[in-house]
Subunit: 273 residues, 2 copies
């Protein structure tokens, strides 16, 4: 069993956003090895169909399996919402996404039973957050809002800009009118807007970051399955990063949020998997 | 020769933006048949590497050739800038992009020899617009500015919004400071911001739409090669539309800019070509 325990966790995202989940895993499960894949050649997923996102996700899962991963984390809300349930039935590995952990913690956080979700168009359209939340507590009303400009604004680096504030005010207006007391940041990029969003929402709204919650769920899952890594390895060897396109943005973004420099970063042709 | 004359023109883009070029071909070459391909499963190209855009463009060219096209129009500035020159040497068909026609008309339009280009990051980074313009007139100075927020703002439908005005002012500021008298809209989506851009630039700056210029170049090219279509065909049969992902946005956008309803719209797996 020891070789399986010491196998890496596979983590994937449509691009760089999933590194916010990697960051939380590094922090909260410092012994674990990670193989990350970012689909930078086909990013974004948030405006694409369920069929396409499922096809891409299956290719990535096949790629991660070549690395003998012991578990897979779908660090992309859109892929979690559109593809995870189907893939989970197809593979023989523990697999989890970011939607379920985010939904669960929102159920615990809300007092007035009014929860908002901001995410990509495809995630909102999938209706998975409302479904999972109401399965845990049917009395909760969930209000979803697609925010397609947030990712480009974050990638432009305008995370504290008045233009982003204006865009956010418009997106959040209808959620605030509904008197939500909890807001799920349902896209892995959005936590980078946390300060700006807090400024608009005020102290009475609790912001949920599914990335953090997901790392806690992985931790419990590995403990339950007795799969925690018990080997020692230096940081440089623990983490491997792959992408379908080599773009400078990946390294810049990774450097800005990860505590380690990315040392092993390789490009692969994901459509061959 | 008659069957070749009556063959369709193949037109492709990373997504829906190339339909602005289709619109101009429909208007200016009403006899021509068109097979359009939009790579909606991998859109956008503007933030991707040359290598990836070239690989995608080669697959699309192979797909269009299965439709026995007589010529190919790369209706995407990014693919024109990153892939066209290489592909032109590989195939035995007339092929043209939108960058060269746009550059040529800018050379004719400028009086003070200061030309601006707004485009995607990859197009600006390729430096092709300056290269082609200065090849025609070395005295012209070209100022490029990547505008990655324009496409998402247009797709959000905010083409007349004060937020888009604020974003555009910031992007155009440095070009206006350089005293440009001509601005190339170097991305097929941007003509949808024409009115808004004119409002910021004022009457003294000439706006160039490469889509229109490209349709004129195709017309002359087909005449030179004696390849003009001389058959009659009803509109419904002349135009075929393919995409790598079926997304509602495609139909909405097509409906908003094309004079005909899209009747034949099929999805294909482009990576198999």
């Amino acid at each position: 069993m020891s070789s399986e325990k010491n196998a890496p966790i596979g983590v994937f995202d449509s691009g760089v956003g999933g590194l916010t989940v990697v960051q939380e895993i590094m922090r909260n499960l410092p012994n674990e090895h990670i193989v990350y894949f970012g689909d930078t050649a086909r990013v974004p997923y948030g405006s694409k169909s369920k069929e396409t996102v499922l096809r891409y996700s299956r290719q990535i899962v096949r790629f991660l399996k070549t690395h003998k991963v012991k578990a897979i984390v779908v660090a992309c809300n859109t892929a979690s919402a559109l593809a995870l349930d189907i893939i989970a039935e197809e593979i023989d590995l523990p697999i989890l996404g970011v939607v379920r952990p985010g939904a669960s913690v929102a159920v615990q956080a809300t007092h007035n039973k009014k929860v908002g979700v901001i995410a990509t168009e495809s995630t909102i359209h999938s209706n998975l957050y409302p479904l999972l939340i109401q399965r845990e507590d049917p009395e909760i009303t969930v209000y979803g809002k697609a925010c397609p400009l947030f990712v480009p604004l974050i990638e432009e680096g305008w995370t504290k800009d008045y233009i982003t504030v204006e865009v956010a005010k418009r997106y959040l207006e209808e959620l605030l009118e509904k008197d939500i007391d909890t807001l799920i940041m349902g896209c892995t990029h959005y936590p980078l807007l946390k300060t700006l969003l807090k400024g608009i929402l005020g102290a009475q709204v609790t912001l949920i970051n599914p990335a953090y919650e997901t790392s806690q769920v992985i931790k419990r899952m590995l403990e339950d399955l007795s799969l925690e890594n018990d080997s020692y390895c230096s940081d440089g060897e623990k983490y491997q990063f792959y992408a379908s396109d080599i773009v400078n943005k990946f390294n810049v973004f990774a450097h800005s949020i990860l505590p380690y420099d990315i040392k092993i970063m390789k490009q692969i042709l994901i459509e061959e998997y």
